[in-house]
């Protein structure tokens, strides 16, 4: 059961000119063959409950897959030495223990904000297998999709040493046609009661697609209001016009990988990011920096990443830290070396910002749900609500005020405000008069803000209150975008792996992938069980490399990126962007060369 094979293969070359309706037919024909099968793809061994050991305190039980054979197991979550751990016992592979969250106190604090959603009314699959082997969306899923990833290609112009799924590695090109993508986007818009409005176009490297602009326009035409493009941004460093075209087509923001401020920590795109940001600034295209955090590798540069982001806050809208997911077979000692969890990232940020951003400033993602519930009560319509598991992510907003960083929690009584909104949402749910409730809220709002402590940019116009008024009274979210221009969003999302896998988190996931057969699969099933989801569907709808090269006349290696390091390092833009954050002159040129080469990016020039 270690290497399940998809029995289905679509002749994708024959579908190159096919219409959306044809893809709907193909999808309905192959879907049942793509769904994981018990006994072939997974086993269920949930009867065995792991025991607690001395010095351990029970938190709860859950289900989790075995990292080696994908058997569904019962796992225990417990507290030991102030941290949260997960342990499971596979009948075949024995005991597997992993750190789950690096701080129990914060775990308990975050837990009280958990809100569950109402899922979807029209699931794509009947309930026929245990979670997480029935993804698609299934009837038991608790959250509606908030953001859906659409893989535009598995081609990439880099060959990062840790990546296992770009086209040359897997032997096929997965690249849905525009008509096929239309079918997939339409499936997102049909979701009820909250149709998908936000997508991330991802890859591979999505900017390799010649028809990227057309795709964005199509996605917008079909009713998606938020489009983000997930890119390494290297192409944007060289093609200013691309940033302009992306913006004009309707891209809202770019999600750009950015693992640190030095060549040592960010050999992927350290040199190109400044040029890309400069081009985005000229085009008015916002950027969110996305650092993947690995203990002992780049966790000492978290404060610098924020300083870099704040220095360029006119174009950097946020930083979304992602503690690493450890994929593949990794021995325990190796895992302990690299593993970092959300509370440890929060603690490192507190230390590296001199306490300017402390652990009290962070809130779990579902803490904002009461605002959505309140609007739902006021309008009578289902609202976009973030109800993922509290352990999945954290967020805060910070403001730049002179040379200081001011988190929103320093001048807004966030706990009290959210509790108040939650109480009012319940009042409405219990049949309260919506006008009366609204009046009470409006009269009370000002008491949650300490204006004397607010950054001067907000103090002047009371813009925060105006924003809340607009949302509550007019249900107008356009002002949220304006708010993001004034602040820096800081987020964290810890995607799972098979060592810390928790089905309770999967069932609440609100970040999805749409598959080529039109299913919606939670992020942490798609990537955590790739043989059953990601690789299976992409292989089924992929074109063998040789056939793709023959059809396009392009060799798959022809477009691989070669870095002209000297030109990049000597550029004025490069130096200006890092100035004040890192001393570029202290880094020998040889170190730049070695960092790039070690990562696997060859040099030119």
């Amino acid at each position: 059961m270690t290497s399940p094979q998809a029995s289905v293969k679509v002749d994708y070359l024959s579908l190159m000119e096919a219409k959306e309706e044809d893809f709907r037919k193909v999808a309905s024909e192959v879907r049942s063959k793509l769904i994981p099968k018990q006994g072939v793809d997974y086993k269920v061994s949930i009867a065995l409950r792991p025991e607690l050991k001395e010095g351990e305190r029970l938190i709860t039980f859950t289900h989790s897959a075995c990292p080696y054979c994908r058997s569904l197991l019962t796992a225990v979550l417990f507290e030991r030495d102030g941290k949260v751990w997960i342990r499971k016992i596979c009948p075949e592979h024995g005991e597997i223990e992993e750190i789950y969250w690096g701080n129990y106190e914060l775990y308990a604090k975050f837990r009280r904000w958990q809100e569950d959603g109402k899922g979807v009314d029209n699931p794509h699959l009947p309930l026929a297998a245990p979670c997480p082997f029935n993804c698609g969306i299934c009837p038991r899923h608790k959250s509606h999709p908030a953001l859906v990833n659409i893989v535009l290609t598995n081609r990439c112009d880099l060959s990062c040493w840790y990546c296992f799924f770009y086209s040359e590695k897997v032997g096929y090109v997965y690249e849905p046609t525009l008509e096929h993508l239309k079918f997939m986007v339409r499936a997102l818009r049909e979701i009820s009661p909250v149709p998908v409005k936000a997508v991330q176009l991802t890859g591979g490297e999505p900017t390799l697609r010649d028809d990227l602009i057309e795709i964005i326009e199509m996605v917008k035409e079909l009713g998606i209001t938020h489009v983000q493009v997930n890119t390494h941004a290297i192409k944007l460093a060289y093609e200013p016009e691309l940033a302009v075209r992306l913006r004009r087509a309707g891209t809202n923001v770019l999600y750009v990988s950015f693992d640190g401020v030095t060549p040592y920590t960010n050999p992927k795109n350290h040199w190109e990011v400044p040029y890309a940001l400069e081009n985005c600034k000229r085009a008015g295209l916002g950027v969110v920096l996305v650092p993947t955090i690995i203990k002992g590798f780049n966790d000492h540069e978290l404060g610098d990443i924020i300083r870099f982001a704040l220095k360029h806050s006119e174009i950097v809208r946020g930083v979304n830290f992602q503690p690493v997911s450890l994929t593949g077979r990794i021995p325990k000692l190796e895992r302990e070396k690299y593993r970092i969890t959300i509370p440890e990232v929060i603690a490192a940020l507190e230390e590296q910002t001199g306490g300017e951003i402390s652990k009290e400033d962070w809130y779990p993602v579902p803490s904002i749900a009461p605002l959505s519930q309140l609007i739902e009560g006021l309008t009578g319509r289902s609202q976009f609500t973030l109800t993922n598991h509290f352990a999945c992510g954290a967020a805060t907003y910070v403001f730049k005020d002179g040379g200081k960083i001011i988190p929103i929690t320093r001048f807004v009584k966030v706990d009290e405000l959210l509790e108040y909104l939650r109480e009012k949402a319940r009042e409405l749910g219990g049949g309260g008069n919506k006008y009366l409730v609204l009046l009470k809220i409006l009269a009370k709002l000002n008491s949650f803000v300490e204006w004397g402590k607010a950054p001067s940019s907000l103090r002047r116009r009371r813009s925060l209150l105006k924003l809340l008024y607009k949302i509550l009274i007019k249900h107008d979210y356009s002002s949220l975008g304006e708010f993001h221009y004034k602040t820096l969003f800081l987020g964290m999302m810890h995607f799972q792996d098979l060592y810390n896998h928790d089905v309770a988190r999967v069932q609440r996931c609100n970040i999805f992938y749409v598959t080529p057969d039109g299913r919606l699969v939670p992020f942490c099933s798609f990537n955590v069980l790739p043989e059953l989801y990601r690789d299976r569907v992409q292989k089924a709808f992929g074109v063998p490399l040789k056939d793709w090269e023959k059809r396009t006349g392009v060799r798959i290696t022809d477009y691989k990126y070669k870095r002209n390091l000297r030109k990049l390092v000597e550029g004025e833009v490069y130096r200006r962007y890092y100035e004040g954050v890192v001393n570029i002159n202290s880094i020998p040129f040889e170190d730049h060369v070695n960092a790039s080469k070690r990562f696997g990016i060859p040099l030119s020039g």
Partner: protein
């Protein structure tokens, strides 16, 4: 004669969020559009192979077996005798769910057999009277003469009353 399996469960959990739930079902067999209460013949331990059957019911509440194991829970599989081959089975699933915004709910599920998908669900969270339930079932499922003199007997916990 065929046997139909349903469940009785009580659960109380704190993680990841508080959940207090009691769920049980009354089973009716259907013949020529009329429903008659089925006899409970066995109550046994919950087995792994019951998982999907249970989750088909829990998923109506956006719950799963995973939610149960998060807390302390008691669960039994209940087996009912279906004396003749008719037009399927009606299951009145009664749920007492203590959440700030949800109190109690009833679902009327019509099954063709034990494995088939449910055909219809009638959440009656806003409908508090038995006659409304009867009318709902008659209207939505086309069933007549439903005996509801002794409903909610499947719940063992604190009295489950509709006023």
């Amino acid at each position: 004669m065929p046997i139909f399996t349903s469940f009785y469960l009580v659960c109380e959990a704190e993680d990841p969020k508080p959940l207090k739930l009691e769920l049980g079902s009354d089973i009716y067999h259907i013949l020529r559009g009329e429903a008659a209460k089925a006899e409970l013949v066995e109550e046994r331990e919950f087995l792994d192979e019951d998982l999907i059957k249970l989750e088909k019911r829990l998923s109506l509440l956006k719950l799963s077996y995973n939610d149960l194991i998060h807390g302390s829970y008691y669960i039994k599989a209940r087996r009912f005798l279906i004396p003749y081959e008719g037009e399927g089975v009606l299951e009145l699933m009664l749920v007492k769910w203590e959440l700030p915004r949800r109190l109690s709910e009833i679902y009327a599920l019509r099954w063709l057999d034990e494995e088939s998908e449910l055909i219809i669900k009638v959440p009656l969270s806003n409908s508090r009277r038995l006659r409304k339930l009867s009318a709902f079932i008659e209207e939505r499922l086309g069933l007549k003469s439903l005996e509801l003199r002794e409903p909610w007997s499947s719940l063992k916990g604190e009295s489950f009353k509709f006023k």
